[in-house]
């Protein structure tokens, strides 16, 4: 049974590419955990990161904060990051805040 604050990050490296499966919700209770979970993505040159957001059901501004930190870090290292399969409700949060313009969402 998934509780209210369920959030899971699974990171898989395949050759030069990093695949991340993001499941659950990111809110004020677990945004710090989320930031720790994605900390490995903040290291290394020319990162190529692909998030599967199929199971991501919610994010508050504190989740957005971590995505912005990630994007800044990726840009600074001449890498790329893509968020895939985002549900329309979550996508709207990225749209409203202009994050859709600075983070690649497909």
């Amino acid at each position: 049974m998934k509780n209210n604050n369920y959030m899971k990050v699974t990171i898989n490296k395949q050759d030069e590419k990093t695949f991340v499966v993001l499941d659950g919700r990111i809110d004020s209770t677990n945004a710090d955990q989320f930031q720790q979970d994605v900390a490995p993505l903040m290291e290394g040159d020319n990162p190529d990161i692909e998030f599967d957001c199929t199971g991501m059901t919610y994010t508050s501004s504190q989740g957005l904060r971590v995505f912005l930190l990630l994007q800044k870090s990726v840009v600074a290292r001449n890498g790329k990051m893509m968020l895939c399969n985002m549900n329309p409700r979550v996508k709207e949060v990225f749209d409203i805040t202009g994050f859709s313009n600075i983070i690649t969402i497909v």
């Binding site: 004020s28 508050s60 840009v75 409700r89 949060v93 409203i96 202009g98 600075i102």
Partner: protein
């Protein structure tokens, strides 16, 4: 109509959000619930983080639904430092990732997701009122 005073509020934002979302005034529609929950979380978190030094203080949270207009009202009241979150400038959403400051999006999200949001300082309390018409 539902109302409850939480005291103290440190580390209790998810409990306060859950209380408001469990109100019979809340719509069933998932999309509306998403927007309302996000707005509530941002507004509550604002109080929990900043209203009181060290989070020692109370927050009164309530909901009300007007049966005729189907307008849902969410009211948050605290006795913390007087602070009008609506005076803050909206973020510049045209900036690049490099230029974007980290944070400062919470109240902007509330404004975007709700139909209206107002602030007043009354009897030594900060009062934030958010409204949303709950027809899907």
């Amino acid at each position: 109509m539902m109302k409850k005073r939480f005291n103290p509020i440190k580390d209790r934002s998810s409990e306060i959000v859950a209380f408001l979302m469990s109100s019979p005034d809340m719509p069933k529609d998932e999309e509306l619930r998403f927007k309302i929950e996000l707005s509530i979380e941002e507004a509550v978190e604002n109080v929990v983080q900043y209203a009181y030094e060290g989070g020692i203080g109370w927050l009164e949270a309530g909901t009300k639904l007007d049966d005729k207009s189907l307008v849902l009202t969410i009211e948050l009241r605290d006795a913390g430092v007087p602070f009008n979150p609506l005076e803050k400038d909206d973020p510049d959403i045209t900036l690049s990732a490099d230029e974007r400051p980290v944070g400062g999006l919470g109240i902007f999200l509330c404004k975007s997701m709700m139909d209206s949001i107002s602030y007043r300082y009354e009897d030594g309390n900060n009062v934030l009122v958010m409204k949303k018409r709950v027809v899907s």
